[in-house]
């Protein structure tokens, strides 16, 4: 898994609440058997009319050249609905490394963390401030310090992450590495409950 440390970047604002995983990656694109290439279908039906790449929807933010960056900022309850990890893969594959919202659906949050995509929960007030910024403004995310900073004003917001997950992300470890090393304890547990 890719390591995450500090990210300074512009961001893409999506001030919409309850963005579900069917919007992030519609079910018809879940037929692949690898983890790659989902980025081109990210928000497919919000990006294109009639599922046609030659007909981009002009009012959708990903089709605005002025918005760019490795940070996606979205309204509350981001990632609700289906457990499809393809949603996290699509966001990552598109080029985002961080998603900021005031509230994440649980399964999405886990899926993101398991793929080195950092979900950051901020206050509603801070989120609204981010939506007011201009497209040229940049944010700095420090996982080590657990802060998001608006570079222009220097304003900082702290975020929570449990120390186990933080270590995993900083070092690029995943849970499987940990669990495999636990197999002896797991076998002992199985004998106890048998």
């Amino acid at each position: 898994m890719d390591k995450i440390t500090t990210i300074q970047s512009r961001f893409v604002p999506m001030p919409i609440e309850n963005i579900d995983t069917d919007q992030i990656i519609p079910a018809r694109f879940l037929k692949a058997t690898t983890r790659d290439g989902f980025g081109k279908n990210l928000f497919r039906d919000w990006r294109y009319s009639n599922d046609d790449e030659s007909q981009p929807k002009v009012d959708f933010v990903l089709n605005h050249k002025i918005y760019s960056g490795e940070i996606l900022v979205a309204g509350k309850n981001f990632g609700c609905g289906s457990s499809r990890e393809h949603a996290a893969w699509a966001i990552k594959d598109y080029g985002f490394k961080v998603v900021i919202s005031s509230f994440f659906a649980d399964i999405f949050k886990n899926n993101a963390l398991n793929n080195g995509l950092l979900p950051i929960t901020v206050s509603d007030a801070f989120l609204q401030q981010l939506f007011q910024l201009s497209p040229a403004d940049t944010l700095t995310v420090s996982l080590e310090a657990q802060t998001v900073c608006i570079d222009k004003s220097g304003q900082k917001e702290s975020f929570e992450i449990n120390s186990y997950k933080k270590t995993c992300l900083l070092k690029g470890y995943d849970d499987i590495d940990y669990l495999i090393n636990m197999r002896t304890s797991i076998e002992q547990f199985e004998q106890q409950i048998a």
Binding site: I16, N77, R84, E85, I107, D175, I176
Partner: protein
């Protein structure tokens, strides 16, 4: 110390608690299907590992499969490859597969319970958010992502942080025409599509106790639609009677011992929940959704909220966006709205009781000529039962089309899709934009409400036909 139902099961499954981190939680049963498993198998193989406990994994093909001519090769190439890969992966890792053509094949959350694999006190996971269905048996059951599927393959464990606990108490008798689907749509409308995020929910109260197992599954199934990790109901005599005699249920001396173990699975009288909600069952009417998340529901004889009058800006935008997509207006009733499609199926409402309810209502009636009605039984066993009870004849005479088992138009992965701009009353669980096909407009409702609209061709209060 007093414990909740959840805590009694959770505590028994913790292998290790990591300091300031998650618990290592042991998983008893792992269901898999063709869509969320291939990358997990690939990941496992890349690490040079095999499945740690293959006998605790059960597989089926459901999300992607056609619901017509299942005996023929799958036409869509990508779907065919995905299903084929499941067959190969299961063979390689010695996992039991109830694939296409197998008498046990069906929607994963239908077959687990009907085969007696799902049992009280278990921890159950699947790479599918509706895994919460199995909680109806007093199990901790929840949906996981593909990386987590790989973790369970590798170690039969997951790293999990203990969720907060919520109890929803529903007391009283249900009104005429009100079934389990209405209860859960009502709850979600009350607390919103994110009202239980971060929580695991226990459903309790006299209205829940009075429900059959299949009705309880419908309720637990949609827990995720209010954001909950899962939902559960304490097992009781209804649970034990349902499990008894099923294919993989314990039998003989082992049965008595199991029932004894299961009988202590309830929340102690003084157990503490982080949040408790009380609902009066008599306040619930048949429900229908008007928007693009399952929390946007109203009583069938109610009115769509007036968007402009909603103070919260985010919520107002959500409703305005939803109404625009749905082609509906603020403040209006849905009664009388012409619909073009009826879908009766999905892991929420495709079990034999659902289909019996529909048959009872439509017997001797015919569908409206302007609607297409598709019934997709949840499993091969449900299909067989439909035929054994002669329900298929009732459906055929009514002009309904009966398909073969699968997830079908619930998520529009196979060819069962609703055309853009058309309305579908669906017994499934999600009304998200494009869920049933790009541009499709979904109105979630109970099998009874769906059947009523099949007959009249418009959104109808089923009580008028009862």
């Amino acid at each position: 110390m007093a414990k909740t139902l959840f805590e009694k099961i959770w505590d028994k499954h913790v292998v290790k608690q990591i300091e300031d981190g998650p618990s290592i939680l042991y998983i008893d049963k792992h269901f898999i299907h063709e869509v969320t498993s291939p990358q997990a198998f690939k990941g496992l193989e890349k690490r040079g590992l095999s499945v740690f406990r293959p006998q605790q994994v059960v597989a089926t093909a459901d999300h992607n499969v056609p619901t017509l001519n299942q005996h023929l090769p799958i036409k869509d190439e990508l779907s065919r490859i995905q299903v084929q890969q499941l067959i190969e992966n299961c063979k390689k890792h010695q996992i039991e597969l109830y694939g296409l053509g197998h008498p046990f094949q069906g929607i994963v959350h239908v077959i687990g319970p009907e085969l007696g694999i799902t049992q009280p006190g278990m921890t159950i996971v699947c790479g599918d958010s509706h895994t919460s269905t199995h909680g109806a048996f007093g199990a901790i059951a929840f949906g996981i992502g593909t990386s987590e599927v790989e973790m369970v393959f590798a170690s039969q464990c997951l790293m999990q942080t203990k969720p907060k606990l919520m109890r929803i108490n529903i007391e009283g008798e249900l009104n005429k025409g009100v079934v389990a689907k209405d209860i859960i749509l009502y709850i979600i409308a009350q607390i919103s599509a994110s009202g239980a995020t971060g929580y695991f929910v226990e459903y309790a109260g006299s209205a829940i106790r009075a429900l059959s197992m299949e009705a309880r599954m419908t309720i637990c199934n949609m827990s995720i639609e209010m954001g909950a990790r899962g939902g559960m109901i304490a097992p009781d005599e209804t649970t034990f009677q349902y499990i008894k005699g099923r294919q993989f249920a314990p039998s003989g001396e082992s049965w008595n011992q199991k029932v004894q173990e299961w009988s202590v699975l309830y929340s102690d009288a003084d157990a503490v929940f982080d949040q408790e909600i009380h609902i009066d069952a008599t306040a619930i009417q048949p429900m229908i959704t008007y928007g693009t998340n399952p929390g946007l529901g109203i009583a069938i004889n109610g009115f769509i909220p007036v968007a402009e009058s909603i103070p919260d800006e985010g919520e107002r935008h959500t409703i305005e966006k939803a109404l625009k997509y749905m082609g509906l207006e603020s403040g209006k009733s849905l009664l009388g709205l012409p619909v073009q499609h009826i879908f009766i199926g999905s892991c929420t409402n495709s079990r034999i009781e659902d289909l019996r309810q529909v048959a009872l209502l439509v017997k001797g009636r015919k569908k409206n000529e302007h609607v297409q009605v598709m019934i997709v039984p949840g499993s091969q066993q449900v299909s067989k039962q439909v035929q054994a009870e002669g329900l298929d004849k009732i459906f055929q005479e009514a002009g309904f089309e009966i398909r073969q088992a699968g997830c079908s138009a619930c998520l529009g992965m196979n060819e069962d899709k609703i055309p853009a701009g058309e309305y579908c009353i669906s017994t499934s669980n999600r009304n998200f934009e494009g869920r049933q096909g790009a541009g499709a407009r979904t109105l979630l409702a109970s099998p009874l409400t769906a059947a009523a609209a099949a007959i009249t061709g418009v959104v109808t209060d089923v009580r008028e036909l009862m």
